[in-house]
Symmetry: C2
Subunit: 383 residues, 2 copies
């Protein structure tokens, strides 16, 4: 391998693979990024990283004088790339699998491995494909990723469920649903193409996080292809500074997602509309004292607003009033304050609406004037 | 206690005590800040925190309706103060030692303790006093604090040695000297008043850190009073936003500081002058690979500059060239790269000068055109 690449392209590529590589394992090849240089006009370097559940493949333009392939530690290479002095970087490798990295008067030689030692990638098996805009994909993930179960042993909840639903005018929409058993989020959007994800399959939590990072800086459209037990996320990118040519190959998680429609209440007895900023500030303050395992906060729906309170024996107690328009009878109940903080962190609306039945019924959180997402939070029994 | 205080004053006061309070202990009163409210025109709240080795006492203006004293957890109170919604804060405490904190529609009640349970402060015993500008004090500490031994068992090196030296024109100057056995730093400045610190006494490392924070934002003069086994740092502050009325009462560390003049070489055979920014960049890159316990880097002083190199078996090797004016014969030796990074981090000069004898002689680091500070770094044997 012998090539010249722009330092910024190298840094962008190595940055992307950091979330994919797996360092907490004795298999050091999972911590590696595979570099595959191809000649051409322009030439390119393909970077591949995988933890065997998900693989990221992306290409970057380079002036390639000699094609070749080797893998090196992704974190070490990233650290070096960021520190290089000049905008152009020269990479050379021979049969000894050492990568020479030079830029200006800096020269690094790092120990690599041949491509034959790189782990196998998740298989590809495309049965159907849909297309969704980067903006919609970003929103779908932002509004749902936080309520995936963090417990990998929580069978059927450790990933996002995708399904096809019918829109108001009969058009097909894709809906993403996540739950950890104490709360649930769903968000949906229109798409083109054909939805084909298996009923029993879930998109793993780690993949949601990686796609979220990739769509943060780019509105270019994404193709999502579904196979029997796999999915593939692909974007061509929208040009300069964008995700030009990124593929994520994903092994889906097997598991029965719960019948979530059962927990969505169809009616409510009380509703309250709050200014999002005031609600968020009050939650933040009362959370300081809500340090028990469940971050319990007492919610008192009163005539003229919401009163939040919490206490702990070591520290003391806190009380907050959030003025609001309230409909229905007063009610006192309790919630995990973090669940509301997650919802407010994911939404950009000025106002937010809470709908309640009785004290032990779930609370529905809606964004006024939007019917393409909904959040459900289970209450907790307060003494 | 019943008083009104500006939130910003409260935050500033609580911020200052965070470095003093001690959380890693079963004595919870060491994690507390003592609030002492005094009526008057204007009234004030004095905040006191101590780990028994050092105490910080500072006063803040407040409208005090009823005097009183109690202590509360400093970290919890700080967290609450930063989250309060309105610029004015109302503090109320009664005989139950609960502190009520209210601001706008937020109310907190936190558990406190009476002043009788607050730990005793280091004693005051002023025998002599000197005055130094905040700017000079800042420089004295910045140029020396990093080479205090981090090992508390390193008898005689776990603090800063202060001594009086004679300036070029016969004026008395104060010199701060620190060492950890592998490197040494000294820095000196003029002062007014009388130096009176005991020969055997050292200013503890933690105190240097706290004074450094206090002088960062204020050039107001400081009084340093010395007792037999104590010192007191005091500033009146320079007004708005400043350290108005801060006292640090310090129990000095007992220990024989080594006879440091013995290790200061009086002559050298080689010298090299480097651009600080280029040297710092090269050190940063080569440090990526210098991951052994001693962060060993090979320094080759060549005719046209300095060549730095390092290697480790897992990762590979790195090589850097820094062009420079060199006087004397070529030489190869090795150093802990962190020691040079610390020196460059503390100095603001554009250029830096290294002076060497032979391969195993200490390296003197100087700032061109300055004779009020000097750094010594011991070399290591390279294979």
């Amino acid at each position: 391998m012998n090539l010249y690449i722009e330092r910024d392209q190298l840094i962008r590529g190595l940055q992307r693979v950091q979330g994919i590589v797996e360092r907490r394992t004795t298999n050091i090849s999972l911590a590696h990024v595979l570099l595959s240089a191809e000649t051409g006009d322009p030439g390119s370097v393909r970077m591949t990283a995988t933890d065997t559940m998900v693989a990221l493949v992306a290409s970057y333009p380079a002036r390639v004088e000699k094609a070749g392939e080797l893998s090196v530690d992704a974190q070490a290479f990233f650290q070096i790339a960021r520190a290089l002095p000049e905008p152009s970087v020269h990479l050379v490798a021979d049969h000894t699998n050492r990568l020479q990295i030079s830029s200006g008067k800096s020269v690094f030689n790092i120990v690599g491995m041949g491509p034959e030692d790189f782990p196998p990638l998740p298989s590809r098996d495309e049965k159907s494909m849909l297309k969704v805009s980067g903006k919609d994909l970003r929103r779908l993930i932002e509004e749902t990723h936080f309520s995936v179960s963090a417990d990998d042993n929580r069978y059927g909840m450790n990933g996002a469920h995708l399904e096809e639903v019918s829109g108001a005018n009969g058009t097909a929409r894709v809906r993403v649903v996540t739950t950890d058993g104490s709360r649930l989020s769903w968000s949906e959007s229109g798409y083109e193409g054909k939805f084909g994800m298996g009923r029993r399959m879930l998109v793993p939590r780690k993949v949601l996080g990686e796609v979220k990072k990739l769509v943060e800086s780019d509105d270019a459209a994404w193709d999502i292809a579904f196979g029997e037990r796999s999915a593939q996320f692909h974007t061509d990118g929208s040009g300069e500074g964008a995700n030009s040519g990124v593929d994520l190959m994903v092994r889906l998680v097997d598991g029965e997602f719960p019948d979530y429609r059962q927990v969505l209440p169809s009616a409510f007895k009380r509703s309250i509309q709050l200014r999002t900023d005031r609600f968020a500030d009050a939650l933040r303050r009362v959370a300081i004292v809500a340090t028990d395992r469940n971050h319990s906060v007492r919610f008192a729906f009163q005539e003229d607003g919401l009163v939040l309170s919490a206490s702990n024996v070591d520290m003391g107690d806190a009380r907050e009033e959030v003025p609001a328009e309230v409909q229905g009878q007063p009610l006192v109940t309790g919630f995990n304050v973090k669940y509301f903080q997650d919802i407010l962190g994911a939404t950009k609306s000025d106002r937010i609406q809470l709908e309640m039945g009785d004290a032990l019924d779930p609370c529905i959180v809606r964004i006024p004037d939007r019917d393409d997402c909904e959040f459900v939070v289970m209450p907790m029994r307060m003494e």
